[in-house]
């Protein structure tokens, strides 16, 4: 911006002011509502036309945009905490028709495993009556109810179970090309997996599980019997109880790399430049935990290359707005922006600290790298611009369940947000179910 100044002595000079501003955007609007019986822990809006939700009752639900439940599949017996979906480039497409699209999902659960699931979606315009047999043993198949001109049919096939952790998993994420997965759990471990579905079980079977026996009606308790011995002995203690009762095609799988440096619960781990995690450096992984650290990992070697240690800030979520910054949410109601280039030896000074009104639970970034959406336990979703530290750009009550109780607002907790910035859709899951809001990313101009 150029300004001409006219001084009293008639000297004219010029001054150039850099003005950074944020374009005003339309306020978020509630598009639709998908009531759930149980709390929604994680959502995904990345598949066009579909919404995927995972819930605390262990069920993966797939909705289309017309608010219809396409599929409802019980993947885990324990609550699912995290969901990641990606287009598997490595796996060849099983179907020949162009209508069919195949995705692979990864769901992390309290049952100490992460499950890889293939999701096949076929759009049949001519098929009007699709049987819905979601309870079928083996491959689970779901479909929308008939009566529509275009019917979306989806097939959910569990592929492999990832066995590493000895505590409930907190997050799972994939890299952008879908070749690797990263899981974080409460036991302080971060596992990196490839998405190849093994032909054989890589770890021993866990048939001696008491619950399996109880469920199967077997009355004798046996010690766990290792059928096959695989290469990584130390990984064996990481394997948990069996999942997905009676699923035949599920292979047990071990991680490529186990990254062990966190001293407390790891709440979030993402790959650099992945779909769900935002940007970041390729080949690096980022994790944050309750031990108040944000760590950067070299994925190839499984080494922690950088550690940001904050003081008494148990981090609950992590996002990577740009290649060199990490945005971590802390339970002391702050959102910290860290510059990852700063060397570890110097004192850790956050690039910015954003005061958050309630305990933040989850965040997601837009494509512009400046705007972030966070969800909190007070049921309010806030939109931040990372250049304005003072307050959120916008905030809205996600479930409309805000009630003033005493002095403290008690809303329904938001547990997961996913922002498809291209489509301008924000999916919000939490205590109140799953809602979709529209919010277009405003690009700040210089």
């Amino acid at each position: 911006m150029r300004t001409l100044w006219l001084s009293p002595v008639l000297l004219v000079w010029e001054e150039t002011l850099e003005i950074e501003y944020i374009e005003s955007v339309l306020p978020p609007q509630k598009l639709s509502e998908f009531p759930h019986d149980d709390w929604v822990s994680s959502i995904s809006c990345q598949i066009p036309g579909l919404f995927l939700t995972t819930s605390y009752d262990g069920i993966l639900r797939i909705f289309n945009h017309s608010r219809q439940l396409i599929s409802s599949t019980r993947l885990h017996t324990a609550p699912i905490t995290s969901l990641s979906c990606y287009l598997p480039s490595s796996t060849p497409k099983t179907t020949t028709t162009d209508d069919n699209q195949t995705y692979t999902l990864a769901t992390a659960s309290h049952d100490l495993t992460c499950l890889l699931t293939r999701l096949t979606i076929s759009q049949n315009a001519h098929l009007e009556d699709v049987d819905e047999d979601s309870a079928m043993d083996g491959s689970l198949e779901g479909g929308s109810s008939g009566g529509l001109a275009t019917t979306t049919k989806s097939r959910v096939t569990p592929l492999a179970a990832l066995h590493l952790h000895i505590a409930p998993l907190s997050s799972v994420a994939s890299n952008d090309d879908g070749t690797k997965l990263i899981t974080a759990a409460w036991d302080g471990l971060v596992g990196v997996w490839d998405t190849r579905v093994p032909e054989e079980h890589e770890v021993g079977d866990v048939r001696g599980n008491i619950r399996n026996r109880v469920g199967d009606g077997q009355r004798s308790r046996k010690r766990r019997k290792v059928v096959e011995e695989e290469e990584e002995e130390e990984e064996e203690e990481g394997e948990g109880e069996g999942v997905l009762v009676g699923v035949k095609g599920v292979k047990r799988k071990v991680p490529e790399v186990v990254m062990k440096s966190h001293t407390g619960r790891v709440s979030r781990a993402v790959f650099g430049s992945s779909i769900s995690g935002g940007r970041g450096e390729r080949g690096k992984a980022y994790s944050c935990g309750f031990d108040s650290t944000v760590r950067v990992w070299d994925v190839e070697n499984g080494l922690c290359v950088h550690t940001i240690t904050a003081s008494e800030k148990p981090f609950t979520a992590l996002a990577l707005p740009t290649e060199v910054t990490a945005l971590a949410l802390s339970t002391d109601r702050t959102m910290m922006l860290y510059d990852l280039r700063v060397s570890t030896t110097s004192a850790v000074v956050p690039a910015a600290a954003f005061p958050h009104a309630a305990l933040p639970s989850c965040n997601t970034t837009g494509t512009g790298g400046n705007q972030v959406i966070t969800g909190a336990y007070d049921g309010i979703v806030r939109v931040w611009d990372l250049r304005s530290v003072k307050s959120a750009l916008a905030s809205f009550d996600a479930f409309g369940s805000m009630e003033k109780k005493g002095t403290r607002p008690v809303g329904k907790k938001v547990l997961g947000v996913d922002w498809n910035a291209e489509r301008g859709v924000v999916g919000i899951g939490g205590e109140g179910g799953f809602v979709v809001w529209s919010f277009k990313e405003g690009f700040g101009a210089n």
Binding site: W39, Y56, A78, P79, H110, D111, L112, I166, A167, P168, W186, V206, N209, I210, R211, V214, R219, S220, R221, R223, R224, E237, E239, G240, E241, G264, R265, F290, E312, P314, T316, T331, D332, R333, A358, L359, S361, Y377, G406, R408, V410, K413, L415
Partner: protein, 745 residues
């Protein structure tokens, strides 16, 4: 005075040197006449003067002769003054009276001589020759006249010639060089012969007096007959007594000498032999005692002491009332400013009598009443505590609120890894939920009020114990890794049942058989003897093998110590005074704290004896916790008191905190952070910082940090139990309102 007079004088002077000058005198007179013709009155006066002129002329000649005659007389009089005493009679002041025969009457008559003004007139007239009076003449310098005559007419200034005339005069008139202008006379006057003579004498250094005779004959004043001195000087010699010593003086001196010799008179006091010694006042070291202060100077009176002070000094009615209410010693000033419109309205000083009286008391050394006043700044009584912000982290806000039940939630417990919490309500429901999110994962239902529940502190196994009336249930949580699950299962339900202990124990241990067990059921059940009541407390030993249960309302002794590995229970106390409220294992030593209603006793379990009795002074102990170091104990009571004991120090509390307004329900030390919390029936939780130093000399530092409010009071009950998250400075609280809150830092 008249012009005639001074003209006479002037003519006299001019006439005196020489008779030849008479012409000139005449000429001048005519000049004057001409001048005076300008005024009629002056002319008339001139006329009169002309009439008398011949007389004067005649007298002029007479006078001259008289002067000469007198001159001769004076010269000759010196020699014959004695002879002329008689002739002096004729020269008396008063003129002689002539007796003539009157032509008319033929009788004798006395005729007085005519008064000659030159001699008989008043001398003051002579001094002022000017006819205008004794007026400074420079007044008229600029005017055409020089004054006024006796008739008030102006006397014009005599005309004077110009420079040419003056020059001609010097040429013509030989007397000009001896003449000068006389202002008084307004004319040029030539010096007389006497004056010239005086000048000449002065010039020749002679006596200017012409009559002075330097060669006068000697006058013999004291010689000659009849002129000798008779009285003035005596030639008598001095009397003898003037130089002969006095005998009576001698006698007097002798008497004094005798008295001195006899010692009756001391001639002078014996002089002090020691001379006054000078010393340097500066060389001495300064005394330690401070020099007396000079009396303070009185303050100067201010405006407020004025009888008519400005308005802003006048007190308001409120201030006046306050001033009157204050004690006289506390008053900042001992008067109130008052306004009087004038000084005469000011009344007498009302404190006069009192001040006199006080002054009398002072003089009499009577002490006035001195009020002992303790001036203590209340801020100085507050102990110096670090600010809470420097003691972070501690829970500050409510992160989660979980509505669990409609009943009171009596008990809560957190798993050793800090991830899971269990809570039990009075209706028999137990829920397991995730601490960080607050999501309930599993629920169990038991028939009866949940008295207590606690998680086993062991890490390699994972289970918790729930107490209902008379029964202890051991429960395994779901979603355990296989190793932990198997070891837990092996611990609680060993395949080969251990040899049954001596069956004398009334406590029965029953494991659920693997066939009938499901995660919804307890895996181990311990049945306490009947009528033992609901155990209110479970206290785990640090190693997780022993646990103690306490039932307050039981008829029998309510304390049982259970050993999990041996599946054995025993009652440690055969007989106890009072009902046991709480027990606690010492974290490091084989000691057991037992709290009855009013005392806390410390037993050594291995030696089976009482170590110490603590007297907290609480009427009814409600809660107790021991510091992780094992050296400190906090005890809370229903009478709102919280006592901190230093076990090494004393049997009396080191500190008593009474911050709650209602009964204290629960206390808990944080396992790792220097924090403890207390909950109360007033619905609040108080968080304290408690730093314990390993140095035995330093007292523990207890700082109140935060009061957490958020629980509602229901049925007079507030927060029933608080527990810390072992990994984080987070606090969980179970309230009587059926909610559980998680407080995060």
């Amino acid at each position: 005075m008249t012009p005639k007079h001074w003209e006479q004088q002037g003519s006299k002077r001019k006439a005196s040197p020489d008779s030849q000058n008479e012409y000139e005198d005449e000429f001048r007179l005519t000049n004057l006449e001409i001048l005076s013709e300008e005024d009629n009155q002056a002319a008339s006066s001139d006329d009169r003067w002309i009439d008398e002129l011949p007389d004067i002329n005649s007298s002029f000649g007479d006078e001259k002769t008289d002067d000469e005659q007198s001159q001769i007389d004076s010269v000759e009089g010196a020699s014959e003054d004695e002879n002329e005493n008689g002739s002096d009679q004729e020269n008396t002041i008063f003129p002689s009276i002539k007796t003539v025969v009157s032509d008319i009457t033929g009788q004798f008559k006395q005729v007085l001589p005519e008064i000659e003004p030159e001699y008989d007139s008043d001398s003051s007239i002579e001094d002022d020759p000017n006819c205008v009076g004794n007026i400074p003449l420079h007044w008229y310098d600029d005017l055409p006249h020089i004054g006024y005559n006796i008739d008030g007419k102006q006397i014009l200034r005599a005309a004077r010639g110009d420079e040419l005339d003056r020059f001609l005069a010097t040429v013509d008139d030989p007397l000009t060089w001896t003449s000068a202008f006389d202002k008084n006379a307004q004319m040029d006057k030539s010096l007389t012969a006497e004056e010239l003579d005086i000048i000449r004498r002065l010039h020749e250094n002679e006596n200017p007096d012409a009559n002075y005779d330097p060669y006068q004959p000697t006058v013999e004043w004291f010689t000659g007959k009849g002129k000798e001195e008779i009285m003035p000087l005596s030639g008598a010699p001095e009397p003898k007594r003037r130089w002969v010593p006095s005998s009576w003086e001698k006698q007097k001196v002798l008497r004094i000498v005798r008295a001195i010799r006899q010692g009756r008179i001391l001639p002078s006091k014996p002089k002090t032999t020691t001379k006054f010694e000078f010393y340097s006042i500066w060389s001495e070291p300064a005394s330690s005692v401070a020099a007396p202060l000079p009396a303070p100077k009185l303050k100067l009176p201010t405006h407020s002491e004025s009888y008519n002070p400005p308005e802003e000094y006048l007190p308001t009615k409120q201030e006046r009332k306050e001033w009157a209410k204050m004690d006289p010693e506390d008053r900042e000033q001992d008067y109130l400013p008052q306004k009087y419109s004038s000084l005469r309205l000011v009344p007498a000083y009302d404190q006069f009598t009192k001040e006199r009286f006080n002054r009398q008391l002072d003089l009499y050394l009577a002490p006035r009443v001195h009020r002992v006043k303790l001036n203590i700044d209340p801020n100085s009584l507050i102990p110096k505590l670090p600010s809470p912000s420097s003691l972070k982290p501690f829970p500050t806000y409510m992160a989660l609120k979980v509505n669990q039940s409609i009943h009171h939630i009596r008990c809560i417990s957190i798993s050793p890894d800090g991830c899971w919490a269990i809570s039990g309500d009075e209706d028999g429901f137990i829920s397991l939920w995730e601490v960080n999110i607050g999501r309930e994962i599993k629920q169990w239902k038991f028939g009866g009020k949940i008295g207590a529940l606690d998680w086993c502190p062991r890490v390699d196994v994972s289970f918790f114990v729930v107490c209902i009336e008379g029964i202890l249930f051991f429960i395994i949580p779901p979603n355990l890794p296989n190793s932990i699950f198997s070891s837990t299962y092996a611990l609680l339900a060993p395949a080969a049942s251990s040899p049954a202990p001596p069956t004398s124990s009334p406590v029965q241990w029953e494991s659920t058989s693997p066939d009938s067990w499901s995660p919804n059921k307890p895996i181990l059940t311990v049945k306490l003897p009947s009528s033992s009541g609901v155990p209110n407390q479970i206290a785990w030993h640090r190693r997780g093998d022993y646990l103690a249960t306490v039932a307050r309302e039981g008829t029998q002794s309510g304390v049982w110590i259970h050993q999990v590995t041996r599946r054995h229970s025993q009652a440690p106390f055969r007989k106890l005074k009072g009902t046991v409220q709480l027990v606690l294992f010492h974290p490091l030593k084989p000691h057991l704290f037992v709290a009855t209603q009013q005392y806390v006793r410390l037993y050594n379990l291995s030696e089976q004896k009482l170590v110490k009795t603590f007297m907290p002074g609480i009427r009814w102990i409600s809660s107790m916790d021991v510091h992780p170091s094992g050296d400190h104990l906090i005890v809370g009571g229903y009478d709102r008191k919280l006592c901190w004991f230093d076990l090494e120090l004393s049997e009396k509390p080191y500190k008593i905190l009474r911050y709650h307004t209602k009964a204290i329900r629960s206390l808990h030390f944080h396992p790792t952070y220097p924090l403890f919390a207390s909950s109360s029936d007033d619905g609040s939780i108080q968080v304290f910082h408690s730093r314990v130093y390993s140095d035995l000399m330093t007292d523990p530092l207890i700082v109140p940090l935060k009061i957490l409010r958020g629980h509602e009071i229901r049925d007079g009950l507030g927060v029933l139990q608080v527990r810390w998250n072992s990994r984080q400075p987070w606090l969980l609280s179970a309230g009587a309102d059926g909610t559980i809150s998680v407080w995060c830092s």
